[in-house]
């Protein structure tokens, strides 16, 4: 009995000890010259970010970066609270968000993503085409059958089945929904007024799926459905992808080229702070539902190691790092944006924060 009690005790001590141990050795600035950096945010960019962290760590063994995929909203929140060194978000921060942050935050576009319409319609073998008005009517619940005249008008010569149309949308808050509803709000005043744009829009019709994988799964499982997902999910699952009419009146297949083209066409209208929506972009070859993914950081980085590492990492990401984009189904930045993003990164300095007392990063 006594020995088993002792062994219980020792086990407990061991478990507690093991739980506490890592805390003793953590800390931003480890022993030796290893720089530790914590990033968090967008789950969309997570696969690419993990690849970047791995490759960058390989080139710089004295740097240890950790990226947590907690969602764009979380990334913005943690950046504002200065619990991380950089955040990542699918949607640029709002003016209020920027104002309420304890220091000046800059947006660095690092990669491009696209939202595509995917559907499950066994009878139809050719890609279905949609004009913006039709998409709005489908997601407003005004079109309820696949052989509706409005869908027929977009697809002359295509035999559309006489069946109910079932809408699938995201049920969780997500940048994908934000980009999609941003597009719909741009092309339709009615959508803007009735639903609006945001990470958790209240769709008038449809089934909600959790995550890109949830929507993909429901569309794949249920006949006669239509839903919106990130390009990568549709491609990886071998699902059909709709062609969408852009502002130039051309039906465009979502591809790396057409997404990058949407960004390139918008370059001249991109404001100085690089916060820009590139949905419904002008240009004959631009895919209309695309967006930048941003890394958000404080302009003032008083801590030298962190500042240098951040600059190196981001500069590497928007240059060499772009070659990792396509294998993971992201579209690379256009040339012009790489230049402008580099100029933005160059602004990062060691000046004191406006708040004065706050030593960024706090932990």
């Amino acid at each position: 009995m006594a020995s088993s009690k002792t062994s219980y005790f020792l086990t407990t001590v061991l478990i507690i000890g093991l739980a506490i141990l890592p805390a003793c050795f953590s800390g931003r600035q480890g022993k030796g010259n290893v720089v530790k950096m914590q990033g968090a945010g967008s789950s969309f960019i997570s696969p690419l970010m993990q690849k970047w962290v791995h490759e960058f760590g390989f080139l710089n063994p004295d740097v240890k970066i950790d990226y947590q995929s907690i969602g764009s909203g979380g990334g913005i929140k943690q950046t504002k609270e200065k619990t991380i060194q950089f955040g990542a978000t699918d949607v640029a921060m709002s003016d209020e968000d920027l104002k309420s942050a304890p220091g000046e935050i800059i947006h660095i576009p690092v990669i491009l993503g696209a939202v595509v319409l995917t559907y499950n319609l066994e009878q139809v073998k050719v890609p279905i085409r949609f004009s913006p008005e039709t998409i709005v009517d489908i997601f407003l619940g005004k079109i309820t059958r696949w052989d509706d005249d409005r869908i027929k008008a977009d697809n002359p010569g295509v035999e559309l089945p006489d069946v109910n149309l079932i809408v699938v949308h995201r049920s969780d808050g997500s940048g994908t929904s934000a980009v999609f509803t941003n597009y719909l709000s741009k092309v339709s005043p009615e959508w803007k007024q009735k639903v609006g744009e945001g990470t958790s829009p209240s769709f008038p019709v449809g089934l909600g799926g959790k995550g890109n994988e949830g929507v993909t799964g429901q569309v794949k499982q249920t006949p006669n459905t239509i839903g919106y997902v990130e390009l990568a999910y549709a491609v990886k699952n071998g699902m059909p992808v709709a062609e969408i009419k852009n502002s130039a009146g051309k039906f465009i297949v979502p591809s790396f080229e057409s997404v990058t083209s949407a960004a390139a066409e918008t370059l001249n209208d991109t404001p100085e702070d690089l916060r820009v929506s590139i949905t419904n972009a002008a240009g004959a070859d631009a895919y209309p539902i695309s967006s930048y993914v941003y890394v958000i950081i404080y302009k003032n980085q008083p801590e030298e190691f962190i500042r240098k590492t951040l600059i190196d990492f981001l500069t590497w990401g928007i240059n060499e790092g772009q070659k990792h984009a396509r294998p993971l189904y992201y579209a690379p930045l256009p040339e012009g944006m790489v230049k402008r993003a580099s100029a933005k990164i160059a602004l990062v300095s060691g000046g004191t924060t406006p708040a004065g007392t706050l030593a960024a990063p706090s932990r």
Binding site: G73, S171, S174, V195, E197, S202
Partner: protein, 308 residues
């Protein structure tokens, strides 16, 4: 044991007593802490919407309108649906295990039932999406609609997802729990009662009725325990219920539960009011499950007293 060791303040007994007391008070502190923190963090929403939050039917984070009613409805209806299916099933299994099955069959079967309770809910959810939903869509829902389609419960489009699928997956998940508790309750009914009943010439069926009557409040406790689990279940039901905050009589229509909306929207909730409204949802869920579990405890206590 020596007496002197018992009297010292640092005696084993005292340390033991202190350790146990601190464990117990920790539980109390956690519960109080949760209530305080949730109330505090949802204060913005409580102030803004008041009681209207409970009865509001619109959930639109973009326009800043929040109402909990469709979620409360979805939670309660899906859980009740689950109980409706799971209760007879569980009692049947438990009666079979205790009253009918030979030992050689009862043991492995009971083990299997307990094993079902240990399967993670995300696994149930995936199974529901890939097996249950298509099954319902192809074989069950069309039949229900063509035969009972005149009822308001079976209208709407057949997608395999929605309230019915959510209720069924919950039923499958709570069956092992209810079965296990009912089995224990039935075993607590004294053997002498069964012997007396059989000796008076009652059949097996009549004897079982007597046993069930004696165990009734214990069975009610088991059912309410199952209800508690069903109300709080998140992952599996989120994957199949369709996630639409709308109150609809049709079981084929999508619905939404409190736990699901919290799991779905918490990560991307940015505005203060939005976050506050979600935390108020947590508070409502907490109160509902708290009441349900308290009820279960009371019922189990009463059956314990009666059989003792």
């Amino acid at each position: 044991m020596k007496k002197s060791a018992n009297q010292s303040i640092l005696s084993g007994d005292n340390i033991f007593r202190f350790a146990l007391a601190s464990c117990a008070s920790l539980i109390l502190l956690i519960v109080i802490g949760m209530i305080v923190v949730m109330t505090q963090n949802s204060w913005l929403s409580i102030e803004r919407f008041g009681l209207g939050f409970l009865f509001g039917t619109v959930w639109d984070p973009i326009k800043g309108e929040f109402g909990a009613l469709p979620f409360v409805y979805g939670t309660l209806v899906s859980s009740l649906l689950a109980l409706l299916i799971a209760t007879p099933l569980s009692i049947g299994v438990a009666v079979f295990l205790v009253e009918q099955a030979p030992k050689s069959l009862a043991r492995p079967l009971a083990f299997l039932v307990e094993l079902l309770a240990a399967i993670p809910s995300v696994v149930y959810g995936l199974w529901a999406i890939f097996v249950l939903a298509p099954l319902l869509r192809v074989y069950v829902q069309p039949v229900l609609q063509s035969s009972l389609g005149w009822l308001p419960f079976f209208k709407g489009s057949v997608t395999g997802l929605g309230m019915l699928t959510g209720g069924i997956i919950l039923a499958i998940m709570i069956t092992p729990i209810i079965t296990a508790v009912v089995r224990d309750v039935l075993e607590a009914v004294p053997v002498t009662q069964r012997e007396a009943s059989l000796a008076l010439g009652a059949t097996h069926w009549e004897t079982t009725k007597i046993v069930l009557a004696n165990a009734s409040s214990g069975i009610a406790g088991a059912v309410i325990l199952g209800l508690g689990r069903a109300i709080g279940e998140t992952m599996a039901i989120t994957m199949v219920i369709g996630n639409r905050p709308k109150i609809s009589a049709s079981l084929f229509d999508p619905s939404y539960t409190i736990a699901s909306v919290i799991a779905n929207e918490f990560t991307e909730a940015t505005g203060d009011l939005y976050l506050s409204a979600l935390i108020e949802m947590c508070l409502i869920l907490f109160v509902v499950t708290f009441i349900v579990n308290a009820l279960a405890k009371l019922l189990i206590l009463s059956v314990g007293r009666r059989t003792a």
